[in-house]
Amino acid sequence: MSAILDRARAQVLADGVGLDEAGVLEVLRSPDDDLSALLQLAHEVRMRWCGPEVEVEGIVSLKTGGCPEDCHFCSQSGLFTSPVRSVWLDIPSLVEAAKQTAATGATEFCIVAAVRGPDARLMAQMRDGVAAIRAAVDIQVAASLGMLTKEQVDELVEMGVHRYNHNLETCRSYFPNVVTTHSWEERWSTLTMVRESGMEVCCGGILGLGESVEQRAEFAAQLAALDPHEVPLNFLNPRPGTPLGDRPVVEGKDALRAIAAFRLAMPRTILRYAGGREITLGDLGTREGLLGGINAVIVGNYLTTLGRPANADLELLTELKMPVKALSATL
């Protein structure tokens, strides 16, 4: 077994201190022969510092497409020739989606909009939508609406949004290769305001954007410095018409190594399987990730693509004896 795994066992498993960038890089460079031991260690770390429960979430797009930003992986940018058209979800349909999500046992429902940041119309829709959900469904409401002003942060807190997602997407050094219409620092600024407001910070990114292994390690270290409550880990699902539409899918073993590495960098965070896991890892890989550091899932469909049926994931969790986190445990 690699020396890095021995070091991680002593430092992360025993003391709960995450690996630094150099340590993460060593993990990401570890040989295939060590992958099984690496996943086992990451699982032990997750069980020791997070426990066996899995947080289940559903996500829905309140406003799809027509985004003015140029995130090169995203089919919702209005700047690319993607076939995704702009559409708004009405409030009754939003509430129905929340009900369906809660029926799976999920405790989290994240409302997402493809925008640079919310305008008055979107904030009004959020206010009405969150109020309608809270009146009808027993579920925690999260939001992902792009970059915020301080006033908008305060307004979301007032609405009862308990967690805010704003992904850094990739490391600081690679970000300009992925997005040119705003900066990594602007995203960091929103995250700082969210943290200061008392809302839980949800911040992750996408692997497979063309970043190097060194930049993957840099990203894990930058996320660890942010110390988010939750880290959604996406794998690029190349979308037709986007600048990254022809990129290859991340190799399964590299994806699993990354899951374990991010867990060893952030032993206490909620590390969530997000988009792209189906095409990157398939059914077997999904299981391996849950036994390799993952302790949260998005069930059902994503924003513009489809996921595994919720019951497939829930049956897998039952088989793995991983209880779904109850709502009472999140309040």
């Binding site: 995704v84 058209r85 559409v87 979800l89 095409i279 469909n301 996921g307 919720a310």
Partner: protein, 73 residues
């Protein structure tokens, strides 16, 4: 006429247009499109190739063609 649809809204009968890439269904190889459609909703109306408005929710999707109406999956 709209072909009857399977569980994921994939047309089960012959249609003029590929509902993923919008190209003529009878021309070219659409096996990649068909495979991708297992994890994607349709984007183009298979009857007229218009881009559809598609709303995905956790448990399904609705795709609307201004001429040919709604499809669900």
């Amino acid at each position: 006429m709209t072909a009857p649809e399977g569980r994921t809204g994939t047309p089960t009968g012959p249609v003029p247009w590929c509902d993923r890439c919008g190209e003529a269904a009878a021309q070219g190889d659409h096996r990649t499109c068909a495979a991708a459609r297992a994890l994607e909703p349709p984007r183009f109306c298979p009857d007229c190739r218009r881009r559809m408005k598609v709303q995905v929710v956790p448990t399904g999707w609705t795709a609307t063609c201004v001429e040919h109406g709604d499809r669900h999956g």
